[in-house]
Amino acid sequence: MQLTGAEIVIRCLQEEKVEHVFGYPGGSVLFIYDELFKQDQIKHILVRHEQAAVHAADAYSRSSNKIGVCLVTSGPGVTNAVTGIATAHMDSIPLVVISGQVPTAYIGQDAFQEADTVGITRPCVKHNFLVKDVKDLADTIKKAFYLAKTGRPGPVLVDIPKDITAKKCDFHYPKTISMRSYNPVVKGHTGQIKKALQLLLDAKRPMIYAGGGVILSDAADKLTKMTRLLGFPITQTLMGLGGYPATDRQSLGMLGMHGTYEANMAMQECDVLLAVGARFDDRVIGSPDHFAKVARKIIHIDIDPSSISKRVRVDVPIVGNVPDVLDELIKQIQVSEAKAEPKALASWWKQIEGWRSRNSLKYKMGSDLIMPQYVVEKLYEVTGGDAFVTSDVGQHQMWAAQYYKFDKPRRWINSGGLGTMGFGLPAAMGVRFANPKATVACITGEGSIQMNIQELSTCKQFHLPVKILCLNNGYLGMVRQWQQMFHGNRYAESYVDALPDFVKLAEAYGHVGLRIDKPADVEPAIREAFVKHKNHLVFLDFQTDKTANVYPMVAAGKGLSEMILAEEEL
């Protein structure tokens, strides 16, 4: 039987067991929306801006390990989606983005709502396609799903001209796909893994450094098992939080620009470093030259060869899928006669405990001003550490990462690579669709939340009871912090004037709004939001200390051990 292109799109999504599509209709995708209308297997989530559609699909994927799917129209539909696509690309999130395009004959004519979608998105997708023949449509969509999820994951875009969605052909959905140009490695090289084990067992000051690759590949349990077998300290990147239980003694917390003292010092001082699904980026190791001052052997497990030896020279590269490599490594550890030298390890731990005892995350709390850190700590207590926490970008993001102790993977949802303000609220929506009963909190600031605040409307339509915790300090806080530290206290355009009354705004959208001014009201308000208003969206507007900074801090371009630990050191 012959199907139209639009029918084929829907059939393909059904074959892929897609349950939710986040999108926004428009001229070029009308035939596809018409087919969506005629079925009820796939639920469409109508957002209020295409950027939010992509963030929601992205967080849907981050919180569930399914592929996020979005559908947008040509021209502005796509250009609005670009920030979302770039966000997913930087954090390697598997998405399939279907975009409408003007009819084939109009391409290149500067037609209404035409954009060079493949050209615009090319640098921020794993791959993209323009479908020029309806006969290629099913194969192309299959490839898109395959590419998004295998190897190093990422967003894949399929651009479909309107006439292709109307043309007909036979439908056959391929069961499998093979591409001569794309064969990602899965298993790690056994010889390399042996070498790695030898280095680990010979280490005097070993350290494990785990990144987002652990979360993306669902390797948290294996990482935990291996780390416990070895008894080594472990630190995680912003993207890796939850890959190892944060409350465990072996965890030194997050490292990097706002990492803990113990994590950064141990990272700098270790003699053997095992990097797992991490990429040594500038926010993590600071200056590569400073990092290289201490001689250490580096083992690097990553599925993407181009991540290895990119910023830091690696001694034992292991290209492969993280859980597969860890499986092999665990096997070898278990059968190995040799064990790590307990004396050296004990003295290394003693040194680490010394660093840890500085308690680098302590902060001063008075009775007048709400400290933002305190809000996150109370959120952690009230939710029992078991919520899905999304965040926007800035100081609140760092405080969320520092003070909410993630024991499970896929619970911490933030834009790490691109650092996209406006991510948090649509992300919370995506999390809730992927986990319909979950407790979802969005930690945000008064700057970030306004970058996608229109989604309060989507939340109302779909009854999404997410809790928004706005750490409102009246400033673009991280910008202000940098201006205070590096630009002579000149707060250029970082003061946010004319803020809306967020309580009234939440109410206008049909939600509950609470304003909290005093430290004593913080916990009761959070309880009220999560207990009394369990089934409602609650906007908690916390008036926090305007001068609070994120510490510790490694200034841009500095070395990991050159941390500023507190206000007094400025």
């Binding site: 493949v118 090319r122 791959h127 590419l147 591409m179 001569r180 140009s181 060869p305 030896s309 990119k310």
Partner: protein, 163 residues
């Protein structure tokens, strides 16, 4: 160091822009780039000449390999190889220059492939140095136009880049 990188890539619309976009996005240098289909019309072969440190060239080959359409990448300059370039030069050829131009073209084993009363078009193949040497050997003021294909290269002997 100068490297000659050869790529087999799916002959798809946009393949060239993926490669050139990669170079500009990551700030890599392209001295020359040539591309054309191979004996198998579904595959294109690209030759890129780039200058960079070993670390950069390593990243370039890895990033090229990462492109979904890329089938194979090899750094030809890692071992024995041959490189060739084709150049067409239109020169003014009048009076005594006419004979002199013919003589120099012969010395460089060039061929004159178009003749008018006042001009020649000289066709020259060889490596990049030879092209430069020819241009240096003739009177610069006589050059009307120069067009070069950029380098294409192939490994010597048993080094074969094939699917």
């Amino acid at each position: 160091m100068r490297h000659i990188i050869s790529i087999l890539i799916e002959n798809e619309a946009g393949a060239l822009s993926r490669v050139s976009g990669l170079f500009s996005a990551r700030g890599y240098n392209i001295e020359s780039l040539t591309v054309a289909p191979t004996e198998d019309p579904t595959l294109s072969r690209m030759t890129i000449v780039s200058i960079g440190s070993d670390d950069i060239i390593e990243q370039i080959t890895k990033q090229l390999n990462k492109l979904i359409d890329t089938v194979k990448v090899v750094d030809l300059s890692e071992a024995a190889h041959i490189e060739r370039e084709l150049m067409l030069v239109k020169v003014r050829a009048t009076g005594k220059d006419r004979e002199e131009m013919k003589r120099v073209a012969d010395i460089f084993r060039g061929r004159i492939i178009d003749v008018t009363e006042s001009t020649y078009v000289v066709e020259l193949t060889g490596n990049t140095n030879k092209m430069g040497a020819f241009l240096d050997a003739i009177d610069r003021s006589l050059i009307l136009e120069t067009v070069r294909t950029g380098v294409c290269g192939i490994g010597r002997g048993d080094r074969i880049l094939k699917v």
